[in-house]
Symmetry: C2
Subunit: 111 residues, 2 copies
DNA sequence: TTTATTCATCGTATAAAAACGATTAAAGAA
DNA sequence: TTCTTTAATCGTTTTTATACGATGAATAAA
């Protein structure tokens, strides 16, 4: 019985988990890094640079887009993607808030 | 054919993805947050605080431990867990390096 | 108009994750 | 020793993720 229970957690927890999930595959990390460096930007370039089929890359791009981490624009027959820095900063900030802040208060070992 | 291709990416990309994967479930976010706040620390307390069965919580703890994000100590019949801040900082730093640094250079929109 | 090119989507197959109950192992209490 | 408590592990089921080829839609070129 695998009734998933994601909904039974707080919205903040679900949001952070969803963000992390978008980053949880090396292909998506690689895509984001390439977009950050601006070497590749168009879908076809990403396909060439990755060891995956075109349909698979397209699928990963869709997941990143659904998570709000990238934006896509249609440029004729091509699709161009770029990082949504605002979303990225938001999530990184929330992780820092949730953990780093508390870290300072609880530097000593626990058990 | 789902021959997974995680190995075909760089080690750094695989490491970051593995870190993100550990954070990709709200239950694990919740566990980490509780450990950070030090309200709960012992496995049994976490089980009470979460809407999951004991075996499921134990499984999530194991994943966090395998990812190096928490440490566990046996205390008699109990198990006590705490966050590995060093690992946490390492990964957060790498994400910042990979994205935030480049962000400064490429503030303008892409496409 | 016809033909390529580019990419998203669909359908499908396999692998991994998530969840639980049952069992096991180890420590403490009776 | 026997019983209880605590938590890890095992086995199983269901859901989700990953990956690809094939198809389709839209633009550009011939």
């Amino acid at each position: 019985m695998a009734l998933h229970k994601r909904e039974e957690f707080s919205l903040k927890e679900q949001e952070l988990a969803a963000f992390a999930k978008a980053l949880s595959h090396p292909a998506r990390i690689s895509i984001l890094a390439k977009l950050a460096k601006r070497n590749e930007c168009v879908c076809g370039e990403l396909v060439e640079a990755l060891p995956l089929a075109q349909s698979t890359v397209s699928q990963h791009l869709k997941e990143l887009k659904n998570a709000g981490l990238i934006d896509g624009t249609v440029d004729g027959p091509r699709s161009c993607y770029c990082i949504n820095w605002k979303a990225f900063e938001k999530f990184m900030g929330e992780f820092s808030f949730l953990f780093n802040k508390l870290k300072i208060q609880n530097e000593k070992a626990c058990c």
